[in-house]
Structure formats: structure tokens, C-alpha cells
């Protein structure tokens, strides 16, 4: 540490080069944090799944529906606490570009089924009491300025109906980009072909250890019917959605690797230039009696300092930006866009590694020169 002053002086010697290298590192680390956040947000559904919940859907595809009569039969499976219709409505508010998720549910059970959703008891009661009632997540309120008591129309391209619902509550927690309304209300107005049908059932188990058995028993119950079921715990269900993204994950990993290599090259180049230009100085330092380790250490310190400054600007910038602007409002299928703490730590460690690796070659080379060689070198 006693050489800290020398390291700082050296960094400030060529301010433009330092600035360019740090900026290059900063934008790249910003991009890395962004891309890793995209990846972690993809898997948030399966990472934060409730271990007690199961989802039962049509065995062939989500695009097919199950008879609502299954509800009573599923409820008879031992270990099931409750079953509720959880039906994808897919209505559009005013324009296609306003798309947000909307489901019809059994309002009386939603609170028990989704403990992560927080809303005052008065609002829960108001929602349950009004057949036309709906509740919306906080982020939808931020986006569209919805208010309690507001009437909104959801136009469905699937069912070709346009139910009008009245907002009775605003919840926080869970997926804050969703609207829920009463399944009974939907069922009354929907055309005959879709009456008494639901896309999924939400099942709540009493104990986590019952979950695999419940899934097996429910599926066995409907195995040879027209509408066989596929029942999974919430985590598996979310993973099957994530699997639909196909090769996107591999793709993102590829891009991240490319960026890491790129910053490695940029920093290595800068450090190589620094070291080369100062070969003469190294000779002087050696002549003054500085040891090889100390000289190499100074270069390493310089490179690490560059990496740390770049990391603080880039990673800090990403964190600040995504904390203040919620990108998920504009990305469908994303419920939040917040870098996870370990992402930030990992990006920082990565920057340190890049700082170390990029200088190692040049530092070794120059510090192993003899005094005479170093002094003789002119560039």
C-alpha cells in the first residue's frame, strides 16, 4: 500500500487514456449486468415458486381448456386444501399495445391462494362482494393510472366479448402486472363453446410433501377422458414456460462471453501500452533498488484500480438506473427488472479478474528485464 500514491499518480498521468479505458469497461459491465438480469428475470417464476401450489392444465396444451366440473373432483384428492379456477382471459384494454395479463378466478379463494399478494381486508371484501369487481397490480396502476371505482372494458379477441369490470382493489407483491376478475361473471357472458371451461386450476396443498402425490392422483383421475390433465407444481409449470424460450439462454450466455473477452482485450491493450511506454522508468526504479515484485505489483495495482473504477461506474450505474426506472413495465412477460445482489457481486469480481489477467503478461515481462535492458530500451 505504500506505493498507492505512485499508482494514483501513474493513473492520472495519461488522463485521457484512463478515461477511455474506464468508460469502455463501464459500458461493457453495464451491458453484462443488464443481460444477466434478463436471464435472472426469465427464471424468476421458477425461483420464487410457492412449494404448496400446483397448477393443473389440459394434458395436450394450454391452448385447450378443462371442464370446470373437474374442480369438485380434484378437491376430493386427500391433502388438497382448495381448488380454484385460474383462467386466462387475455382481454385487451383499449389497444393491443396495452397488453397485460388478466385472469378470471374464484375471488373468495384468491387471497388464501396467493399469500404473496398484499391488499387491505376492506379491498378484498369489496372485490369479493362485487360480481363485476376486479383487482389490479400496482404496476398497472403506475402505467395506466387506474383508480378504485374506475370502470374498464376488456376486449377479448378469443371469446369476442367485452366485459366491463370495476376496480375494487390494488394489490402489491407477486406479479404486479396482472388484473383478476370473477370467473362467474365471465362464464355468464362467454359464448357456448367456452362456457364452463377453464384454462388452468390452481391447487393449494396442505403440506409440501403431499404435492407430488396430489399431482399423480389428479392426472390419474382424468387419464382416459377427453380432457386429460397435466398437473405440476408451480416451479415445474414456470420452467415449462421458460423452456419455451428455447435457445435464448444459450444465446445470451454467448453474448456475455463475447463482452467479457472484449473488455479483457481492451484492458490488456491499455496496460500493455502503459507498461511499454514506461520501460525506461522501470529501469530507473530497478537502479534505485526496487524489487521485481514491487514493480510488478505497482502495475497490477494500476490495472486493478482501473477495473474497480470501471466496475463502480458501470455496475453502480446499472443498479441506479434499474432501481429508478422499472423496465419491466415495457417488456411483456417480465414482472420486474431488478439486478440481483449476486449479479452485482459477480460482475464486480469479474472486473477484478479482468484487471488481474489483463496486466499479468505485460507486468511479468517488464519486471523480469534486467536494469540495463530496461534502460537501454527506447520507444
Amino acid at each position: 500500500m505504500k506505493y498507492a500514491k505512485l499508482v494514483i499518480r501513474n493513473i492520472l498521468r495519461n488522463k485521457r487514456r484512463t478515461l477511455l479505458t474506464v468508460s469502455s469497461l463501464a459500458v461493457s459491465l453495464f451491458l453484462i449486468v443488464t443481460l444477466v438480469t434478463v436471464l435472472t428475470e426469465f427464471t424468476r417464476g421458477s425461483d420464487e415458486a410457492n412449494p404448496l401450489r400446483l397448477i393443473s392444465r389440459h394434458g395436450v396444451s394450454l391452448a385447450f381448456h378443462l371442464p370446470i366440473a373437474y374442480r369438485e373432483r380434484i378437491a376430493t384428492v386427500p391433502g388438497v386444501q382448495h381448488v380454484l379456477p385460474y383462467h386466462w382471459f387475455g382481454g385487451i384494454y383499449k389497444e393491443q399495445k396495452n397488453f397485460f395479463a388478466n385472469f378470471t378466478v374464484d375471488a373468495r379463494l384468491l387471497q388464501a391462494h396467493s399469500p404473496e399478494m398484499k391488499m387491505s381486508d376492506a379491498q378484498w371484501q369489496a372485490f369479493i362482494a362485487d360480481r363485476q369487481g376486479a383487482i389490479v397490480g400496482k404496476k398497472l396502476v403506475d402505467r395506466f393510472g387506474f383508480q378504485i371505482g374506475q370502470r374498464i372494458t376488456l376486449k377479448s379477441p378469443i371469446y369476442r366479448i367485452s366485459p366491463e369490470v370495476i376496480i375494487r382493489g390494488i394489490y402489491t407483491g407477486g406479479e404486479e402486472k396482472t388484473l383478476f376478475f370473477h370467473h362467474e361473471y365471465f362464464n355468464e357472458m362467454t359464448p357456448a363453446w367456452s362456457k364452463d371451461k377453464v384454462s388452468t386450476f390452481g391447487i393449494m396443498a396442505k403440506k409440501p410433501e403431499d404435492v407430488p402425490r396430489i399431482a399423480r392422483e389428479v392426472d390419474a383421475m382424468f387419464l382416459n377422458t377427453d380432457a386429460p390433465t397435466k398437473t405440476e407444481n408451480e416451479r415445474e409449470f414456470a420452467m415449462s414456460f421458460e423452456a419455451m424460450m428455447g435457445s435464448v439462454k444459450t444465446f445470451l450466455y454467448g453474448i456475455i462471453t463475447a463482452i467479457v473477452f472484449s473488455i479483457l482485450l481492451v484492458t490488456a491493450n491499455t496496460m500493455a501500452m502503459n507498461v511499454r511506454e514506461r520501460t525506461n522508468e522501470v529501469g530507473t526504479l530497478k537502479a534505485l533498488g526496487f524489487q521485481r515484485g514491487a514493480i510488478a505489483g505497482m502495475f497490477v495495482g494500476e490495472s486493478l484500480a482501473l477495473a474497480v473504477i470501471g466496475a463502480l461506474v458501470g455496475i453502480g450505474g446499472a443498479e441506479l438506473l434499474y432501481r429508478s426506472i422499472d423496465l419491466s413495465m415495457y417488456i411483456p412477460n417480465f414482472n420486474s427488472f431488478t439486478p440481483q445482489n449476486w449479479t452485482l457481486v459477480a460482475a464486480f469480481l469479474l472486473a477484478l479478474i479482468v484487471g488481474l489477467v489483463s496486466v499479468s503478461f505485460s507486468a511479468l515481462r517488464v519486471s523480469s528485464l534486467t536494469t540495463a535492458e530496461a534502460l537501454r530500451r527506447i520507444e
Binding site: L20, V27, P157, D226, A243, L265, T270, M273
Partner: protein, 387 residues
């Protein structure tokens, strides 16, 4: 008087470490840009070539995807006798179709995806050019048999010739594999429409595909079907239908690709600037000498800009060469409208390569402007005095 190019090339070779590092960093930027754009291009091309110019697709009014559509048998009876439909012998070229999905695990994974099964009428192969069976044979009308796209068969388990899959209570046997020169339906399984309709217990079809005699008839038929109050149907040209289908996915990819490429581009531009500043600083005396020899400020500036562009071009060439094999890679993603799989190839097209070159040269140019300006402004006396 311009400096000989040889001067620049030699300089690049002398500082080969620096040149390579900078070129590689620019190359990585261009590589990522090419990869994302080739994916978007692949989706675009798949869809652009999928629709045939004279084909008309008929859906239930208000549905945006085939999956949500519903066309009754009465509707078919009205539509198939309309004037203007092309004929094969005395039969109208029209195919009633039905689509449904099956869920299959991907090869080597436990998770899978949904695959579209299309039940087609006997005219379907005549309506879609490029369809050809590459292994086994085609399905027989009335039997629970199916042909699977080769791409899908390669990506999913249990869809080879001789395998069986279940639709509700009926087992379909795979009797052949087909290719369709990269069109959208090359992500599907095909079977006989009536067999599939019975298997999935449906009464109606999901859509009709028909061929108009000529383009004026196409417009007339489109209007005739869409305007008929009793039918409650919507007709649109097959070409437009496919464009609307995947427009958003490819738009999102392009936006994403541009965003990443721009940020990486800024990063490698800074790197290029660093290299060029160092080059200028190291050669201050050389610049002085050149000035004394009579080279103008402008020529010196141009020389340094060209040097930077040459570095960038090395990166671009490597990136393009590495990206070209992507043309043979096929991949897939899910269509979120229907939850079904679409397979397509990366496409590194000529336009894309030109765009990559322009982008790379741009990075080199911007990275060089300030340093070379500095070089050209060096005073002769100062330059010669420098050590």
C-alpha cells in the same frame, strides 16, 4: 499528396499486439451484432417466403391467429363455390384446415415445447409449393397417419418415422418426414383434416386456405368474403398473414441487437481511440519528419484514419468469416400467440454483411477522428523536438 498505404500497413504490423487486441474487440462487437441480426433475419425470411402471392387464408372474424379461429362446415360450403377460385380439373383449390397442438420433450431434455399439428385437405400440397417428403411416404386420407417436418423430428423426442403420438384418444403413426424449403409450416406435423377433426372432437375447421385465379380475383375474393355479414369471416392474403404473425418477435430481436451492438460499439470505439492516441503519441517525431518532407496536415490525418479503419476491417473480416457458418444452424423459439414452436435458420445475408462492414468502419472512423486531428495539428518544431 497522400501517404502510401504501405506506410500504414507496416505500422500496423509493427504494433501487432495492440492492433490485434483492438481488432478483436471490434470483431467481437460485430460478431454479436451479426448473430442477433441473423436470427431476426431468419425469422423474417421464413415468414416472407411462407405466403404464396395468390393464396388467401380465411379465418373467423376477429381472430388474429389460426389457433383462435373457427370456420364452420357451412362456411366452407359457401366459400368453396365462390367465383375466382383457381381450379384443378373441376375441383376448387381450397383446403379446409384444422390445427391443434401436442406437447413433446426436446431431445436430450425433460422440458419440451408445443408442436402444431395441421390437418389438411387433399389440395394442401398443391396450395403450398416446396412441400416434399424426404423420408417414408405421405399420410393416407382417412387413416391416423402423419408426416413430420424433418427439423421438428430432429429437435423433439418420439417423432421419427414409425413412432406414434397421441391426440386425445387417437394414436397417430408417423409415416414420413417432410421439408418445405424453410417456410413457416416446416415447423409442423401434417395429417388428414377429417381424421384430425374426429380425433380432436371438433365439428368445425380452424381456417381455409384457397388460391385465387389472379391478383385482381384475389382482391375481389378478399372483399367478398370479409364483407359478407352472414359468414362472419375474414380473408387476408397468406403473405400478409405471416408478416403479421411474427413481426413482433423479429422487431424485438432487432431492437435488442441494435441496443447491444450500440453499447458494445461505444466500448470498442473507446478502445480504438486509446490505440490510436498511443500510435500518434509514439510517432510524434515521425509526424514531424513527414511534415518536413512536405506532406500536408490533411494527408497525415487521412493516413491515421485509414490506419484505424484498417484495424476495424481486420475485426470485421474475422467476425464475418466466423458468422458465415451460422447459415447452417437452425434453431427454434416459441410463438407466444399460440404457444407453439417455430423452427428457422440463422441467415447471414449479403445486406447484413454490408451493414456489418459499415458498422465496423464506423467504429474505426469515430475512434480515429480525434487522435488523427491531434496528429495533424502537431507543430513541426514541437514534433521534431519530441523524444
Amino acid at each position: 499528396m497522400a501517404l502510401p498505404l504501405k506506410y500504414n500497413i507496416r505500422n500496423l504490423v509493427v504494433r501487432k499486439g495492440s492492433t490485434l487486441a483492438t481488432a478483436a474487440s471490434i470483431g467481437l462487437t460485430i460478431g454479436v451484432f451479426l448473430m442477433v441480426m441473423a436470427l431476426a433475419r431468419g425469422i423474417d425470411l421464413t415468414l416472407a417466403t411462407s405466403g404464396e402471392p395468390l393464396n388467401l387464408i380465411v379465418l373467423r372474424n376477429g381472430s388474429t391467429a389460426e389457433m383462435m379461429s373457427d370456420v364452420s362446415r357451412d362456411n366452407l360450403n359457401v366459400v368453396q363455390f365462390l367465383d375466382g377460385i383457381a381450379r384443378e380439373g373441376d375441383q376448387p383449390l381450397i383446403s379446409p384446415e384444422i390445427i391443434t397442438l401436442i406437447y413433446k420433450p426436446r431431445k436430450g431434455q425433460t422440458q419440451g415445447g408445443n408442436i402444431t399439428i395441421r390437418g389438411v385437405g387433399p389440395m394442401a400440397m398443391k396450395l403450398r409449393s416446396g412441400f416434399r417428403v424426404v423420408e417414408g411416404r405421405t399420410f393416407q386420407t382417412g387413416l391416423p397417419e402423419a408426416v413430420v417436418s424433418r427439423r421438428i423430428s430432429e429437435r423433439f423426442q418420439g417423432l421419427g418415422v414409425g413412432d406414434q403420438f397421441r391426440v386425445q384418444a387417437t394414436d397417430f403413426r408417423v409415416v414420413g418426414l417432410f421439408e418445405a424449403s424453410g417456410k413457416a409450416f416446416e415447423s409442423e406435423i401434417w395429417a388428414d383434416v377429417n381424421t384430425l377433426r374426429n380425433a380432436s372432437k371438433r365439428v368445425s375447421f380452424t381456417s381455409l386456405l384457397l388460391r385465387a385465379q389472379n391478383s385482381s380475383q384475389l382482391a375481389a375474393l378478399e372483399k367478398r368474403i370479409s364483407d359478407d355479414e352472414r359468414l362472419k369471416l375474414k380473408a387476408l392474403s397468406e403473405r400478409r398473414f405471416y408478416e403479421e404473425q411474427q413481426g413482433t418477435t423479429s422487431m424485438m430481436l432487432k431492437g435488442f441487437g441494435t441496443f447491444i451492438a450500440l453499447i458494445m460499439g461505444v466500448g470498442s470505439c473507446f478502445a480504438g481511440m486509446n490505440t490510436m492516441y498511443a500510435a500518434v503519441a509514439n510517432r510524434t517525431r515521425e509526424i514531424g519528419t513527414l511534415r518536413v518532407l512536405g506532406y500536408k496536415r490533411g494527408s497525415i490525418m487521412v493516413a491515421f484514419v485509414l490506419e484505424s479503419i484498417a484495424i476495424a476491417l481486420v475485426g470485421v473480416v474475422v467476425a464475418v468469416l466466423l458468422a458465415l457458418p451460422l447459415n447452417f444452424v437452425s434453431t427454434g423459439t416459441s410463438n407466444f400467440m399460440t404457444f407453439s414452436e417455430i423452427a428457422f435458420n440463422f441467415r447471414v445475408t449479403r445486406e447484413l454483411i454490408i451493414a456489418a462492414i459499415i458498422f465496423g468502419v464506423g467504429i474505426g472512423l469515430f475512434g480515429a477522428l480525434l487522435p488523427s486531428l491531434r496528429a495533424s495539428r502537431t507543430k513541426i518544431v514541437d514534433a521534431l523536438r519530441a523524444t
